[in-house]
Amino acid sequence: MLSERVYRALLVAYPREFRGEYGELMVQCFRDRMRFDGKGPRALIVWMHMISDLAISAFQEHAGGYGMGNTKPIIETDALTKIYGSIVAVDDLSMSVPRGHAFGLLGPNGSGKTTTMGMLLGLVQPTSGNFSLFGSTDGLQDSLRRVGAIVEYPSFYPYLTGRENLRYFQGIFQRGEPEDIDGLLEKVGLAESGDRRFSTYSLGMKQRLGLAFVLLGDPELLLLDEPTNGMDPAGMAEVRHLIRQLAEDGRTVLVASHLLNEVEQMCDSVVIMSDGNLIAQGSVSDILRSDEHVRLKTTDDEKAVTILSALDWIEDVRMEGGEVVVSSTRDELAEISTILGRAEVYVIETSSGPGSLEKYFLEITSEGENE
């Protein structure tokens, strides 16, 4: 069917937005709303235009609640600043979080991640600056009804059971149905301990309950602050997988963490913060690519460094551990080898590796400190 062709085309253009159940919903919308009777090429063009319009309107109507197909960032901050007395907790933060992504807010303790989240959730009054949720700068409370959030650590009523806590929050937030709770407890691995008091939970179990809590009513946007804090390695892996899965299902997940590998594993994009300042922002792959390097052992390492340093397309060349480390991709290795060969410096051994977010993070945060 044509609708399915259009769907496939859209899937190629917007792989994330048109994946899974929402993609299927798209197809269903087309099937319900249009009939293509094949009256020649002109009719085809006319129908194609109609299909495009219908696709947009039908999709917005049916999946509009999820904000799918909307390319505006789900979170946008503009010069957001928070000052406590003489301490600048967040300084002039401007960032945007795209829809349907797992987005990392990375920074060491005290870098302003939690304060930023607090401002986005209306818990902390910004000193200056603005922000928008779902493209709206006002009606924060209405926007927050579409958000599931845990700030700093999961805070629940210790005298209630895990199940009762979820039931209470479900009741006050008016999100979902009571029968959803069993499924949520199951999903986060608390099916067996849902009837235990929260005060008896380990930190890891509290984190799991926090995850079940943020999923109440299946919100579009999740804000998670250090979601794996206190978990054992298996639990951490499980939660990271779950968060990844949530993002792949079309939700936007903003994860604040000081754990570099965690953000690297879970997130598509990242904002790096240090001392309340935004240090870097971009997709994780871009950031990693920027730190990609090859390591060479040559017949004359010093000469190799001199030759490669003269090339304007190579950003950084240095000696490290008896090797020449060149900021370059593996694809450029042949060209590097040729250039060195012309100068009678021969490559004996090569290795390459992707950049590590950790290394990048340490470099840029120390740069900030040095300044």
């Binding site: 607090g118 959730l121 209306g122 818990l123 902390v124 009054q125 924060l140 409370q141 209405d142 926007s143 927050l144 009804r145 958000v147 959030a149 845990i150 700030v151 700093e152 650590y153 999961p154 805070s155 629940f156 009523y157 210790p158 005298y159 209630l160 009762e164 039931r167 209470y168 929050f169 009741g171 006050i172 937030f173 008016q174 809590f213 804000l223």
Partner: protein, 345 residues
């Protein structure tokens, strides 16, 4: 408004699992029943036979002219300030003799014991036992235990949200700050009404129990006071507690701590008592003392009322004013503040 009522319902779902409200209710019920049972025991342990044998004073006069007749007045008549019918038929000299005797009773306090026994009896027979039980909770001097208990409860319910850090969890979900606070206040009003209903029911049970176990005339079920007074003291007490609920919430929001909130609001009692005493030393300022929060509450909830209608209106407005000012200030402070994590208090 509907969502606020929903919030109140869910607040109750949560609060009923706490021990604190039940402990405070138990204290309130125990204190209120102390009045009923202490009255009964005092009455019963007194020499019941005095009453049975007519041991209390009565005075009779008799005459033959123009027609034979007699007239008797008892302590009951005296205490209730009534003269039995037939006073006008008494010959002049005998009437003077009777009035002289009554004057002597007054001077010598002959019927005081009877009056005190009547008062004791009113304390455990319906419906006055209910009025008295509620009055003990609200306006028993010098400590108004009702306001203290409701302030402790208010500070606990609001302060626990700061202590557990759950305020952040709630507000981050899109619940308006004012709405959340208002739901808490509505719950506290409901809980104070419920507590008074429980006190009423327990008092009814106590009075019935006394009626069952009494072997003498002390256990009448419903023969003292008026039911309208029960309704009046109930409504007046609930209204009078509003500023104390507001004060407890205000102190807690201001300090973001349950413990400090309780200390501050209860400490206000002591400060106000001292202030009222000082103000009463000055003739001009003595009237101001009557409109201080606790003084206003005590005079408002005293049954039968000692206030004339203009004083009652003044006290009513004073209570309303305290409530409005405290609620408005609380809302403003709560709106301005950043919400931090668990304080552990």
């Amino acid at each position: 408004m509907q969502h606020t009522l929903q919030l109140t319902k869910w607040e109750w779902f949560k609060v009923r699992r706490l021990r604190m409200p039940w402990i405070l209710l138990a204290i309130a019920v125990l204190v209120s029943q102390l009045g009923v049972w202490v009255n009964y025991l005092a009455f019963h342990n007194d020499d019941v036979n005095i009453l049975m044998s007519g041991g209390f004073s009565s005075y009779s006069v008799a005459w033959d002219e123009p027609t034979p007749g007699s007239y008797t007045i008892t302590c009951s008549d005296f205490v209730n300030d009534r003269m039995p019918p037939g006073l006008d038929q008494i010959p002049e000299d005998r009437r003077a003799e009777l009035l002289k005797e009554i004057d002597a009773w007054r001077t010598e306090g002959v019927c005081d014991r009877f009056a005190s026994r009547t008062q004791l009896r009113r304390g455990f027979t319906l419906p006055n036992s209910i009025t008295q039980s509620i009055a003990i909770i609200s306006s028993f001097r010098p400590i108004a235990i009702g306001p203290i208990l409701i302030m402790i409860l208010a500070a606990s319910i609001v302060g626990s949200e700061y202590g557990y850090g759950t305020l952040r969890t709630v507000l981050a979900g899109g619940i308006g700050r004012w709405k959340f606070l208002f739901a808490k206040m509505l719950l506290l009003i409901r809980m104070s009404s419920d507590a008074l209903i429980v006190i009423t029911l327990v008092t009814v049970a106590s009075s019935l129990a006394i009626a069952l176990i009494s072997t003498d005339d002390s256990g009448g079920i419903a023969d003292s006071g008026k039911w309208s007074e029960v309704v009046l003291i109930f409504l007046k007490t609930v209204y009078g507690l509003l500023p104390f609920i507001s004060l407890g919430v205000f102190a807690t929001v201001l300090t973001t701590s349950r413990g400090v909130g309780i200390t501050l609001s209860v400490g206000y009692f002591i400060v106000e008592s001292i202030l009222a005493t000082l103000l009463r030393l000055n003739e001009t300022l003595a009237d101001v003392a009557d409109y201080l929060l606790i003084q206003a509450f005590l005079s408002w909830t005293t049954i039968p009322s000692e206030l004339n209608s203009s004083q009652a209106l003044g006290v009513f407005l004073a209570i309303l004013g305290y409530t409005v000012i405290l609620v408005a200030t609380t809302a403003w402070v709560f709106k301005q503040r950043d919400i931090a994590g668990a304080t552990g208090d």
